[in-house]
């Protein structure tokens, strides 16, 4: 009806809402993320500090969950997804401090869930080598999350930069970036993964590279499209008329205005990447045994679990993967729903 939005009166801001401002939320996210990455990727270099680094991440995760749940309270779907994701994040950051058995130590093989053996109660039972499934699931979650999110972030960094350049600068830069992107997109994802990992060797870092190669072109296309739309807006012209450098226009004037659809896509893509990483470890590429990982657990249990009694060995990691991916997808759905509503 009305084309002119009247200014809204600003109500007093409560503490949680204040924390919901992007800067604080980002700080909390880093407070969780940096220790996790340090712990998983650079555990050896940390030496004696290794057992302390994750302590600040636990309250940060709880606080971020509270803040996000409050901000998104309009959308039940988003909060449900958020709850699933933060359930796993919380387990991942608190894994070292939980009273868990060593995930790699054989204790008692073939213990079914909810039974006691040798004076120990096994909630989720043990696998065929006698390792505790609960401990393996939680530790595995840490690795899946760290590598999955890092890989997605790396893909986003590369994809966004290339997309901004292709979309905003256009011309030959666009032609080159789009052509290379199309070539990469024409490979089936799995073939690309296998090629890269076989060529570079199998490690977590190479998974990051492989995911970047396969996801960045798609992200580039999204960002390029958004940038093409936004670059014709008058505020971009205003920046051009006052002689701003292209890099500044891309990062300061353009990028913040395309973040909405990008965040939704990032949530979805986190799900895909988790699937991809689990699939890779299932295939024996990427993360190597004996450290626990959901894909690895599914692979190891794949023959034993054919016996119905022992199918829990497969069901537990499979359900874990599914719930995490479901969480990411629900979050994406909820965010999209909220962005469409206003």
């Amino acid at each position: 009806m009305s084309a002119i939005a009247e200014p809204l009166p600003s109500p007093p801001v409560p503490v949680l809402a204040r924390l919901a401002r992007p800067r604080f939320a980002l700080a909390l996210l880093l407070l969780i993320w940096v220790p996790l990455v340090a712990y998983v990727m650079f555990g050896r270099e940390l030496g004696p500090y290794r057992s302390y680094v994750l302590i600040p991440a636990i309250p940060a995760a709880l606080l971020l969950y509270a803040v996000a749940a409050r901000t998104w309270r309009e959308s039940t779907i988003a909060v449900a997804g958020l709850t699933l994701v933060f359930f796993w994040i919380l387990l991942a950051v608190s894994a070292p401090y939980l009273p868990l058995l060593d995930p790699n130590k054989p204790v008692a093989p073939f213990v079914t869930p909810f039974t006691e053996r040798n004076g120990i109660f096994f909630w989720l039972g043990t696998d065929m080598r006698g390792r505790d499934l609960l401990a393996r699931t939680i530790w595995g979650c840490q690795r899946v999350l760290v590598w999955g999110i890092t890989a997605t972030a790396a893909a986003y960094l590369v994809g966004t930069m290339l997309g901004l350049i292709a979309g905003y600068r256009g011309g030959w830069r666009d032609e080159v970036v789009s052509f290379v992107g199309n070539v990469l997109l024409s490979f089936p994802v799995m073939v690309l993964f296998i090629l890269i990992l076989n060529y570079l060797g199998q490690s977590g870092f190479n998974i990051v590279i492989a995911v970047t190669f396969s996801s960045a072109p798609a992200i580039m296309r999204i960002v390029r499209g958004l940038a093409l739309d936004v670059k014709s807006r008058d505020y971009i012209h205003a920046a051009q008329v006052r002689g701003e450098r292209p890099l500044r226009i891309m990062l300061v004037e353009l990028l913040p205005n395309v973040r909405g659809p990008l965040i939704v896509d990032a949530c979805l893509r986190l799900g895909y990447t988790t699937v991809a990483i689990t699939t890779l470890t299932f295939l024996g590429l990427g993360l190597q045994p004996p450290d626990p990982d959901w894909g690895l657990m599914i692979k190891e249990a794949s023959t034993t679990a054919l016996v119905f009694k022992f199918s829990y060995m497969l069901v537990v990691p499979a359900l874990s993967v599914s719930s995490l991916i479901l969480g990411f997808n629900l979050m994406a759905d909820g965010l999209r729903e909220m962005s469409l509503r206003d």
Binding site: A3, P7, D234, Y235, A238, V241, G243, V252, P256
Partner: protein, 708 residues
């Protein structure tokens, strides 16, 4: 209260005639997350057969909601909460979905603002038109196509056979709107609802559509509801008018009577804020309506217009709901003003402080033979591309503290010129000198900081002009820092405050995000940003065309005040001749990349005219009953800029075109007085003999009646 008075209808000789449409105490609300939002309250309307009734008001006044309610298209969250809408005596709100479907399209038809959005892009025009008849009248396909073709002819679409076979995107905007109107008329509806049907079109195209709308009533006996924000268009098309404000009708009456003797303070304010030909920036400046439209859920008690009204009296105006009151001595008029008998309506509004015109200084900008050509890439197989001559040999200059307006319709190259001037594009040929710096072929990256700072821009779309992600203050501060006006953080903040003061916004707005501002406020910030670096020249690209009229006046006045104070040169790009006449010192009229006529404002608005200027002047709707216009309606559409006519670019539409000369030889320059240049083949005597387009009907009454 009852507006449905016994109004005689012109054609009503005997027997009672049922009104085609009657709204009785209609109230419509939308239900949102914020609760019930009343969009229209207590709305009355009576439309007799063959009449045209205009609804006029600013955005958010509820005029489109009335149209949607008539069509019963309110959507999931809108509901009629009171009153009734009678169509031919039957209440539309109580009708079954099946009956409604039959009535819509067959008996009530609607035409929307965007013609492209009303047409199916995947069907040919002929098929779409025929579909109406196939569905509503159950005709056979050949008969339907034949009728469709005949209807296209009657809305004067040139070459109807070609249009029938074309897809909507292959025809121009004006033709699309004609097709939509033809479609609406096909099943011979009793009522045609037009919602801003010409807002998306150029003036000369608009004039043709307006002409057509006026004929529809006579030719088909169709009653028309015409919704517009433009008072001039309402005067040209309608018999009756309802002025709406904040969801209510505030004044109703026959168009001519109402325009001559206004009886509501809001209508009065509207007229004072539009640039009528009698307005003048020195002696009779525009008077904006103070304050802002109240939010639908935050309307004041009593009169909605009370807080903005100069005649407001506490205790009577804000004591309770105000009914529609009869206007003394005018049988068919109603006004929602409780002080209707107390206000001296003839008294002109308080004359604002007179501003002396600043004397223009030295020449600041000198444009010589400037051309900008774009090479269209022919594609990979087509080989050599074509050239679009967006600007062709522009020559003019602009002095310090002077306002030079560039006028023209879409595609005339005025925005391209702004791009070349600001360095976003470089000239193909010719030169631009700002002071003693050559700019023509210098892109913005190669210009030095002083030149960049000297030349800033105000943009058209208020919703796009500010970056939604950054606060208002930081966007202004960025300009200050970028141009090195101030470096010290505290000084920068001071200057931001000073600039917000200058554009008359509260300083607290510095911390706000653009989405918390209204359109007019955003445009003010846009102006503050342009002036933050102390520019010597500001290019304003249609800075007020997207704003409501009362806001337009405020922003226009503000822009001119600042310009006067800083002695800035203003290049004002616009398609709106009324505003240009009001504020410009000199005018350039552009058509297809060329300057057809240039001169001082009074020279442009008086004969001799260029034939194109004459058509433009005639096309502008004027909301003043005392002004009589000579009709010059152009036929045809703007030629494509990539394929302009060989001789004079205007020769394809020019009513005076001399075959064999105009379409072959580029026109010479005729200079009736120094600085007034007309690019035309017509003999000087012919040009000099042109009669004025606008003339006053009764010159003696004009001085007496003041503002209205």
């Amino acid at each position: 209260m009852d507006q449905a008075l016994d109004r005689p209808h012109p054609s009503a000789e005997s027997g009672p005639i049922v009104p085609v449409l009657e709204c009785r105490n209609l109230s419509v609300s939308y239900y949102t997350r914020a609760g019930e939002v009343p969009a229209v309250t207590d709305f009355n309307l009576r439309l007799m057969p063959g009449e045209a009734h205009g609804l006029v008001g600013e955005s958010g006044c509820g005029k489109s909601t009335v149209a949607l309610a008539i069509m019963q298209y309110l959507g999931g969250n809108g509901r009629i909460v009171g009153g009734e809408i009678l169509f031919d005596g039957r209440d539309l709100a109580k009708m079954k979905a099946e009956d409604l479907r039959r009535i819509r399209g067959a008996e009530i038809a609607m035409v929307y603002q965007e013609p492209m959005a009303s047409l199916n892009p995947s069907m040919t025009v002929g098929a779409q038109l025929a579909e109406v008849l196939l569905y509503h009248d159950r005709l056979s396909r050949p008969t339907a196509l034949e009728r469709a073709r005949a209807m296209l002819e009657s809305v004067r679409v040139p070459d109807p056979d070609r249009i029938m076979a074309a897809y909507p995107h292959q025809i121009s905007g004006g033709q699309q709107q004609r097709v939509v109107i033809a479609m609406a008329l096909l099943s011979n509806p009793k009522l045609l609802v037009l919602d801003e049907p010409t807002t998306a079109l150029d003036v000369t195209i608009e004039a043709g559509i307006v002409e057509l709308i006026r004929e529809i009533g006579a030719a088909h006996g169709t009653s028309i509801i015409y919704i517009s924000h433009n008072l001039g268009l309402i005067l040209e098309t309608c018999d009756w008018v309802t002025v709406m404000y904040a969801g209510e009708a505030v004044e109703v009456g026959p168009v001519g009577e109402l325009f001559d003797a206004i009886r509501h303070p809001y209508t009065r304010g509207l007229f004072a804020s539009i640039p009528l030909p009698s307005a003048d920036k020195i002696s009779r400046p525009l008077v904006p309506i103070p304050g802002q439209l109240p939010l639908p859920y935050d309307r004041p008690r009593g009169c909605n217009f009370g807080p903005r009204c100069e005649f407001f009296i506490a205790g009577s105006c804000d004591s309770g709901p105000i009914p529609m009151l009869p206007v003394w001595n005018a049988e068919h008029r109603r006004s929602r003003c409780i002080r209707i008998d107390e206000i001296d309506w003839e008294r002109p509004p308080a004359p604002p402080a007179l501003q002396a015109a600043p004397p223009p200084g030295d020449i600041l900008l000198k444009v010589e033979d400037l051309s900008k050509h774009y090479e269209l890439e022919g594609g990979f197989l087509a080989g050599g591309g074509r050239t679009v001559k967006a600007n062709e040999s522009l020559t003019f200059d602009a002095r310090e503290a002077e306002t030079v307006a560039i006028v023209g319709e879409s595609g005339c190259g005025k925005s391209t010129f702004a791009k070349v001037l600001t360095g976003l594009e470089t000239a193909t040929d010719g030169s631009i000198r700002l002071g003693d710096v050559e700019l023509g072929a210098v892109p913005i990256e190669k210009r030095d900081a002083r030149t960049v700072a000297a030349l800033q821009m105000v943009f058209q779309n208020p919703f796009d002009t500010l970056n939604p992600s950054h606060s208002v203050g930081s966007q202004i501060a960025r300009v200050i820092r970028k141009f090195g006006v101030e470096r010290d953080e505290a000084k920068v903040r001071q200057r931001v405050d000073a600039l917000l003061d200058m554009v008359k916004l509260p300083r607290a707005f510095a911390r706000r995000k653009p989405r918390q501002l209204s359109g007019g406020q955003k445009q003010r910030v846009g102006i503050a940003r342009a002036f933050a670096g102390n520019p010597r020249m500001v290019i304003a690209d249609e800075p007020v065309s997207a704003l409501d009229v009362s806001v337009q006046a405020a922003v226009t006045e503000l822009l001119m005040d600042i310009q006067r104070e800083h002695r800035t040169t203003l290049i004002f790009i616009s398609h709106d001749l009324s505003i240009v006449r009001y504020l410009a010192d000199r005018i350039l009229v552009m058509y297809l990349g060329r300057i057809m006529e240039q001169g001082r404002t009074e020279e442009i608005f008086a004969p001799p005219y260029h034939p194109y200027t004459e058509a433009l002047l005639s096309a502008v709707p004027v909301a003043d009953t005392r002004i009589e216009k000579r009709k010059v309606v152009l036929s045809g559409d703007l030629p494509s800029p990539s394929d302009p006519p060989a001789g004079c670019p205007f020769s394809t539409r020019c009513p005076y075109a001399i075959p064999g000369t105009c379409d072959v030889v580029p026109p010479p320059v005729f200079e009736p007085s120094p600085g007034h240049r007309i690019l035309c083949h017509l003999a000087p005597e012919t040009l000099m003999a042109m009669k004025p387009v606008m003339s006053e009907r009764e010159p003696e009454t004009r001085a007496a009646s003041g503002s209205s």
